[in-house]
Symmetry: C2
Subunit: 306 residues, 2 copies
């Protein structure tokens, strides 16, 4: 099986690439692509740096024909909102071009798309399911949703075996990454683990959805291995907990008290810290799993292991 | 005000262009575009033939900067399903490129998009409103829906004053037009008016939504004149009636009995002839109007007048 990972130098992409290099799937060829790579490639893995929205690069990249593509590349929400042309190119035009070209070269290829809960827009109080109404209120979510519709239609026609997973923020992202409005969700882990004071911008009562990178990679691998055509759209499970509860769990795991002061940024709280319950029973029935508990989440988020 | 109409040599486009030439709006410059034009331009109107997905053509076309754009150009559903590359270019990539370029040249320009009830996919028995769930089951509907999301997001950001209207089939299309699965809805008018026998592929009990071209043009003009930002998505009203009732109304208007035999094409009936009730109260409150009754519909559909 020939496998392509886009956005492979991103936080999630590096985790997935490392796990794929451990070969949980029978892989004949593994190609990683991103705009640039910080590190040289592992033995037996190809790294190809370039811009997916450049037709010549895409042509060369896809030349081998891939049986399985993980499309993770995207410009984060905050950045996409500020730089609209960049966001449109990376989050809309590139996925359209990529999916179309993958299907042309290898009809029926498996295409796993990292979508986002940003497709829902402002959520009410009801438990979210994959059937919850989608009214994105940021360009990032609108582009992710448009890509989902494209991929579901390609799956219907049988030209691509697509599956889109709506991810919440994944923790703990490196502190150097920027552009994510949900950065506080990751900083909570890093700062407490480092024994530093942290002025969290939202209250301790903010309810977020939490997924470690390890769990997110498991979700992607489960998606890749599901029977083709069984489902094209998944709301994966996540841990639903307050920032305060997570701070306690991190402090407990580290064995050191947390030194967090809680803010009252209502915009951020509305966007990321006012999440309703999550009913992921459909995904659970398909073998998708969240982190087992907050302690497992803290350990996975802080270990740095993929 | 400078006005652009795309798809201006199509059935709806010709009607809109003719009405705009009668100047219901204060127009300084009217430009019509389509891949080709069957007739020379009217005095004072520019016709520009080309492909909207060709960046060089688009650049030249939009050079004047438009305050109001009616985007009607699209490849019909049946054809888009058979020729996927053509459908994607015309129904997805061209609208993205057009809307983006219009907004760049004239931020906040009014952009009226002819969307389709194809965005809903298979409908249940409940009355359809603009809030009905969208699960398109043909590529045409998926592309229209993706474009709606793009335009609504651009409206949210204030870069384009967009409004999308979800049109049902418009009658009576010329008998020469092809690619429309709903062709029977127009042939019903033409054949009865011509005194010819017509083997309608669906039963007389098939419930369709009916809009004459005259009413459709009125809907577009009303959309153009609505206060900007008031609404970005509209399910316009339509007459809801059976094929049998329409045949009777056409025969009555013509003053000659209809010679129609009714078929049992279940696929076509499911797609176009099993429509639920329509609750367009939100659109009615905004001044959008359907044909007054079936007699008015028959007259408008057969007169050929815009």
């Amino acid at each position: 099986m020939r496998v392509l990972v886009t956005g492979a130098d991103g936080f999630l992409g590096r985790g997935l690439a490392a796990r794929l290099a451990l070969a949980p799937l029978p892989i004949e060829k593994l190609v990683l692509t991103d705009r640039a790579f910080a590190e040289p490639a592992l033995a037996g893995v190809d790294q190809s740096a370039g811009d997916l929205s450049d037709p010549a690069f895409l042509e060369t990249l896809l030349e081998p024909g891939f049986d399985l593509v993980f499309h993770l590349a995207s410009v984060p929400g905050g950045l996409a909102e500020r730089e609209q042309a960049l966001g449109q190119k990376a989050n809309l035009l590139a996925p359209i071009a990529l999916a179309t070209a993958v299907a042309e070269r290898r009809p029926g290829a498996r295409f796993v798309f990292a979508s986002s809960i940003g497709v829902y827009g402002t959520l009410g109080n009801d438990a979210v399911t994959i059937h919850t109404r989608t009214t994105p209120d940021l360009t990032y979510g609108a582009h992710k949703l448009m890509t989902e519709y494209l991929l579901s239609d390609m799956a219907r026609r049988g030209v691509l075996s697509s599956i889109s997973l709506r991810f919440p923020g994944i923790v703990a992202r490196p502190q150097t990454e920027s552009g994510h409005g949900s950065a506080f969700m990751s900083l909570l882990f890093h700062r407490i683990a480092a024994g530093e004071a942290y002025a969290c911008p939202v209250p301790a009562s903010s309810v977020c959805w939490w997924v470690s990178r390890r769990a997110a990679v498991d979700l992607l691998l489960n998606a890749a291995q599901l029977e083709a055509g069984r489902v094209t759209l998944v709301q994966p499970p996540a841990l639903v907990a307050t920032t305060g509860e997570v701070a306690v769990a991190v402090a407990h795991y580290i064995g050191r008290p947390a030194n967090v002061t809680w803010g009252s940024d209502e915009t951020l709280r509305q966007l990321f810290g006012a999440m309703p319950p999550l009913d992921a029973s459909e995904a659970l029935a398909l073998g998708f799993k969240a982190d087992a508990d907050l302690e497992t989440l803290a350990k996975a988020a802080l270990s740095g292991e993929p």
